[in-house]
């Protein structure tokens, strides 16, 4: 029983680390702010969730599990809200998504004119 819990916990930890790593690489290498926010926030949810669930399997007492659940619930709520607020603030401040090469320059010009 013990070894089954260990294997499940290690699997969750390794998968969560992998998702965190892909999110970090995406944050570093993607070309645009909106694609970066996509990579960072999308992998944040699953990476943090899997790591915290993997730790929950190793938690000895109930209070540690309760604290881990509190961190998980709060990070799920706060991460999505912060990502939404960042995307909204960037869009309202006039940062255009570069979907097509010529279109981005045009919208940048039209924003910086007034």
């Amino acid at each position: 029983m013990e070894i089954v819990l260990d294997i499940i916990s290690w699997f969750c930890l390794v998968t969560g680390s992998f998702f965190c790593l892909t999110g970090g690489v995406g944050l570093l290498r993607f070309p645009d702010f909106y694609s970066r926010i996509h990579s960072a926030s999308l992998t944040d949810t699953l990476g943090a969730g899997l790591i915290l669930v993997g730790l929950m399997f190793q938690a000895g007492s109930a209070i540690v599990t309760a604290k881990l659940i509190m961190i998980l619930v709060f990070s799920l709520l706060a991460g999505t809200t912060a990502s939404h607020a960042m995307a909204k603030a960037a869009l309202k401040s006039g940062l255009a998504p570069d979907d097509a090469g010529g279109k981005e320059k045009q919208s940048e010009d039209s924003i910086s004119k007034p």
């Binding site: 916990s9 290690w10 930890l13 390794v14 969560g16 680390s17 992998f18 965190c20 790593l21 999110g23 970090g24 690489v25 944050l27 570093l28 702010f33 970066r36 926010i37 960072a40 944040d44 990476g47 943090a48 790591i51 915290l52 730790l55 190793q58 007492s61 209070i63 540690v64 604290k67 881990l68 509190m70 961190i71 709060f74 990070s75 706060a78 991460g79 809200t81 912060a82 607020a85 960042m86 603030a89 960037a90 309202k92 401040s93 940062l95």
Partner: protein
Amino acid sequence: MYSLTAVTLLVVMSFALVRAFKGPTLYDRILAVNNFGTKTVLLLAIIDFIAGRPDFLDIAIVYALINFISIIGVLRFFEYARNQTAEEEN
């Protein structure tokens, strides 16, 4: 196994720091700092299990709260400051 996760989180945090220094716009930097804070919470939870001290989970909870509040505060500040300068220019 804990140390593998901790090292991975440290690598991701260094990526976020590089993006925070390099970021062309202000929002890239805010995004990188937010990602750094989220990974810090996870790292604190891992350190709790490595060191075997249950106090670190309380620090992780408080860090998650402060991180969220500070990001929202910074975003509100820049939104408000930008609107104010736009009004002054008009």
